[in-house]
Symmetry: C2
Subunit: 235 residues, 2 copies
DNA sequence: ACAAAAGTGTTCTCGTTACACCCATGT
DNA sequence: ACATGGGTGTAACGAGAACACTTTTGT
């Protein structure tokens, strides 16, 4: 089978950076490592690429194993290839980042992995180069979200505009004018207003909206501009 | 040395998508494969990742071997992991794309590889999944160039604004208003006007400019807006 | 009645676009 | 003289930002 003679073969891992949003904070799902080395330390969920499996399939498999979820938004970020990144044995890692509605996450599934959600601003130490991966993923998320409507992937099917705004404000660590924000969002026509209101956040209550999935898919690559002065926020 | 037992190790390749601009067309540097399989067919320049070499080093090594150039703009695109992508043996490929000033390319160096520049619109058949890589690279280039000033990497140290415009028009396959274009470009203050003019393109002649490298680096991540209506051009 | 969040209306400003027109020069 | 591309001036337009103010309802 090995027909390129004289070349070195290397382990390939896939690691998933899994973002969630609990209504006020952006969080990351980490697992506590059961194996040596670095047993007890926190880590991204990952696994080795299997024969006859492509990268996306490996990422899906790994995400499902931890969260039970399928059909989740996930994109390849980049490969990490420092020869020393894994002290046990050279392993190239292809990192994926995933956005999930945190409420769909089933806790019992993760019992095997000792998984926990961490606020992105107060994360524990991570093994290997996982901290770097997370930093890059955070940047990438900001970058992408400033241009494309991916943050809807973090929200439940019904959400309010103030909730959406909190999410954007969390990602960009800043505050937007709520009046201009809601108008901008609605001007995309990606949202469908529901009859009910969410009264948990205020006395007046805010209308629920749903994503118009057809328009969402069709306009996914169109630029948007929810973020005032994006070039002022170093992305 | 191999201490993760029971896992499969895989060949890792790095392939470079090398863009150039000859003053009127955007081109891609391809090599004609000397080895079986697919001997005689065209291919991206690539090579296997070596022990103790990280991905960027491998990409630099490969680019230098073909073009003699160092210090070139190059960024990782993504990894391609289809188990069947190389019929000889499973090989994961990490693709990089590079932007070079075509005039710095030294032809003799490539004699070993039978390299040739191809217009991006009339490319020969490529081996494996290299066509897909090229398509993705073209998209990525458009995307990135619509937001960041990377296309300067394709130009010689001295260039005129009409040349720059031709480059942008080639990338986006459209025409811009030259009057508005030059104003937009100059408003970034990234360019320094030279005393001489380039008289080859017109009777009046167009002033040469140089990049202000300090400002270029400082503002690299700032958004720009040379492309009118970017959301109308499906990027 | 009041507080507090949601959301509408309106004005100002500035960047983009479209296009008339002038400039420089080789033939 | 005139054709050709390079470049400036300018007016109309529209999107974004700022903010006063109204709406709704729980306490």
């Amino acid at each position: 089978m090995n027909r390129y003679p004289g070349e070195t073969r290397t382990l390939i891992a896939v690691d998933c950076i899994i973002f969630g949003f609990d209504g006020s904070d952006i969080k990351l799902l980490l697992i506590q490592r059961g194996l040596k080395p670095e047993k007890g330390k926190w880590s991204l969920m990952g696994g080795f690429l299997q024969p006859n499996e492509d990268l996306q399939q490996a990422a899906d498999r790994i995400l499902k194993k931890l969260t039970g979820l399928e059909g989740v938004y996930m994109e390849q970020m980049r490969a990490f290839g420092d020869p020393q990144r894994d002290p046990v044995e050279r392993t190239l890692s292809v990192a994926y980042f995933a956005l999930i509605d945190i409420h769909r996450y089933e806790k019992q599934l993760s019992a095997d992995y000792h998984a926990e959600w961490f606020h992105v601003k107060s994360m524990p130490e991570l093994i290997f180069d996982h901290k770097e991966m997370v930093e890059i993923a955070k940047k990438q998320l900001r970058y992408k979200a400033s241009l494309h409507p991916i943050l809807f992937e973090l929200l439940p099917p019904r959400f309010t505009i103030p909730q959406l705004q909190m999410l954007y404000e969390g990602i960009y660590d800043t505050n937007f004018d709520n009046r201009n924000f809601s108008r901008k969002v609605l001007s995309t026509e990606l949202l469908v207003k529901q009859k009910e209101k969410d009264k948990s956040g205020s006395k007046k209550g805010a209308y629920f909206y749903r994503l118009d999935k057809r328009k969402y898919k069709a306009n996914f690559h169109a630029f948007l501009n929810f973020i005032p002065n994006p070039d002022k926020l170093l992305l």
